[in-house]
């Protein structure tokens, strides 16, 4: 039997193989992870659903990846998987592998807060489609992960329940908004996680924590049960320690869902059969507009070295221009808040969540929303409400939606010439907690390289390309992500490229450094 000390370091594909060979039981795997979460993450390990400690009781040594740990349900699911495996029932390829679920996706019997006081204590009466498909694949959900409130942020500091910390350096942010999911996988608190990505909320935290993270083609991951931020952009997607793991998790959860009216009908491509085919002969475009000013020198050096590796592997590297990419971030910060202001109107103190009593319904609505939403959510609701209001709609939302068309056309034209596009995922390595909280615009610039693909709806993946020092600490070595973008519904291309680069890079997804989370076993 595998020693528990090594279990949490196994990637999902290797863990699944051990489970299938019955070297280890699903229950042993779940218990090992629960023990480590109880020891390391800052939860109160009591009852059927464990809660995170209150924000002011958290230690700076705790990543705070989880808001809730569904311990009893995870153990019961694991026991059920083991019983069926013993009975000779054929199980799915990821059966028994644990997973951390971003707290923006509903799961029956577990709280869904979206990182907000507005939904504190709310237990949804239904499963998201993604949750349902994970269950069908016998992936065991360990718990719900911390996030920027309603997925608005790039550092997970906007959670109402305290910030998540980066397992590579606990004084730095894990990125966001899916920072809890990233910290769970990077911190050996789950081998897999699901996040959601609206403008980079999977790819940027994956980059900052040394993980693989993917935003599938818009419309291929069901949004049913995903609490909406910006409906035309929101997509769930995988976090993993390897490209193959991420591809397996996406394969287990994507595909058409009639319960989501924006879901794209038709079959989705096979992500695994061509995974190891390599990049020889592939034409790869480097996006001219997604580099240079604003990108840290350490990030650019790692990116340049990755391009050399791709070239050595037989890919042809060419420079490509996306003339409207520079307008991606301005367009995003009109479109996403506009859609958010509309979507978050549902939090009115009537059907679920918080209510602050007042004499009239309108006063109750306004008082409830004032008390329930944090500063960033209020800011975005205000931007969106203004951008959609009479007299401003044409210049703001409509104009941004037209620019969005031009960005999508830039990508289409580029993909006539190249098979895939690459850029750094984030202009910076992980920054320190508090560094960017005072200036909303500085925080928004984290999304500059990820937003164009979001607006075009194309699939994009981030994988670790190496380590670089932070500008404020020459001795540090922090993960740098490379972003791969592929044409619509050609998600298999980004995985194939990512796999080839990953093999050539040899990055070990195990946090190191003086302030890294402990990677030692706990039992």
């Amino acid at each position: 039997m595998t020693a528990p000390t090594q279990l949490t370091q196994l990637n999902a594909t290797d863990l699944a193989a051990r489970l299938a060979a019955r070297d280890v039981s699903a229950r042993e795997v779940v218990d090992t992870y629960l023990d480590r979460i109880a020891a390391v993450d800052g939860v109160v390990a009591e009852g059927e659903v464990w809660s995170a400690k209150p924000a002011d009781a958290l230690s700076p040594d705790e990543p705070h990846a989880y808001l809730a740990v569904t311990a009893a349900a995870a153990r019961a699911h694991a026991d059920d998987i083991d019983a069926r495996r013993t009975a000779g029932v054929e199980l799915g390829p990821l059966a028994g592998v644990p997973l951390a679920l971003k707290d923006v996706l509903t799961m029956r019997g577990a709280p869904t807060t979206c990182g907000s006081r507005m939904l504190e204590g709310w237990v949804p009466p239904y499963d998201a489609t993604v949750t349902e498909r994970l269950r069908a694949a016998d992936v065991v959900v360990l718990g719900k992960t911390n996030m920027d409130e309603f997925a608005m942020g790039s550092s997970t500091e906007n959670s109402a329940f305290g910030a998540t910390r980066n397992p590579w350096d606990l004084d730095r942010v894990p990125g966001g908004s899916s920072g809890g999911s990233a910290a769970a996988v990077a911190g050996l608190l789950a081998p897999l996680a699901i996040g959601t990505d609206t403008g980079g909320s999977i790819r940027q935290p994956a980059a900052l924590t040394g993980l693989v993270g993917a935003k599938p083609t818009y419309g291929t991951m069901s949004r049913y049960g995903l609490v909406a931020f910006a409906s035309s952009l929101d997509q769930a997607g995988p976090f993993a320690r390897t490209v193959e793991d991420a591809a397996r998790l996406q394969a287990a959860t994507w595909g058409h869902d009639p319960r989501d009216a924006t879901s794209v009908p038709g079959a989705v491509p096979d992500l695994l059969s061509g995974l190891t085919d390599g990049v020889a002969g592939m034409r790869i475009g480097v996006v001219r507009e997604l580099q240079g000013e604003g990108y840290e020198p350490g990030v650019e050096a790692v990116f340049a070295a990755a391009l050399d590796r791709l070239s050595d592997l037989g890919a042809e590297i060419v420079e490509v221009s996306l003339p409207h990419a520079a307008y991606g971030l301005p367009a995003y910060y009109l479109i996403a808040p506009s859609e958010a202001s509309s979507n978050l109107a549902r939090f009115d103190g009537v059907r679920y969540g918080l209510r602050v009593d007042a004499a009239t319904a309108e006063e109750m609505n306004a008082a409830t929303r004032a008390a329930g939403f944090g500063p960033e959510v209020k800011r975005r609701i205000m931007i969106g409400t203004h951008a959609l209001s009479s007299g401003y709609y044409d210049a703001y939302y409509l104009q941004a939606s037209k620019v969005r068309t031009l960005i999508a056309e830039d990508f289409r034209a580029a993909f006539d010439d190249v098979d895939a596009l690459v850029s750094p995922t984030s202009p910076s390595v992980a920054f320190r907690l508090g560094d960017k909280t005072a200036d909303p615009m500085a925080m928004y610039l984290n999304d500059v390289a990820t937003v164009p693909a979001s607006l075009a709806g194309i699939p994009a993946l981030s994988l670790p390309a190496g380590l670089a020092p932070a500008p404020d600490d020459d001795a540090s070595a922090l993960p740098v992500g490379l972003q791969v973008m592929a044409p619509l519904k050609r998600d298999e291309v980004m995985y194939r490229l990512g796999y080839a680069l990953e093999q050539a890079t040899g990055f070990a997804a195990l946090p190191t450094g003086p302030r890294a989370v402990t990677t030692q076993e706990v039992s």
Binding site: W122, V123, P124, P125, Y126, Y218, G219, P258, A261, T262, V264, H324, Y327, P330, A331, Y333, A345, G349, V350, R351, Y352, G353, L354, R355, A359, A361, E363, M364, N365, A366, R369, A370, F373, P375, K378, R379, I381, M382, I383, T385, H386, S389, A395, Y396, L398, Q399, A400, S401, K402, V403, R404, T405, L406, A408, P440, M441, Y444, A456, G457, L488
Partner: protein, 98 residues
């Protein structure tokens, strides 16, 4: 564009947000800065361009008109802050006459 505190209060009313004076004072310059940045989209000549809201041209998405199991009333009311007679309860909406 620069947003005045009066305009911030107007937008807050539309958004049903009861902001404090401190929040209004902080938001006016922040929103002005963010909108000033976002206004760059106006530099793009896009009069004849169709707006995009979905990367695939889906239209009139329908489902078969068949009944299927749905959530029970009790399950849906269970998360509500106030319930009366199997309904969501809210404070009065129309002012009393008088």
């Amino acid at each position: 564009m620069a947003l005045s505190e009066q305009e911030v209060r107007h937008v807050a009313r539309l958004a049903r947000l009861a902001l404090t004076d401190e929040e209004v004072a902080a938001l006016a310059p922040q929103l002005s800065s963010i909108l000033g940045y976002a206004e760059q989209v106006g530099e793009v000549a896009a009069e004849a361009v169709e707006p995009t809201t979905h990367p695939f041209a889906l239209a009139d998405v329908t489902r078969a008109d068949e009944s299927a199991p749905s959530l029970t009333r009790d399950a849906l009311l269970a998360g509500a802050p106030a319930v009366e007679q199997d309904r969501f309860a809210v404070p009065r909406i129309v002012a009393e006459e008088g």
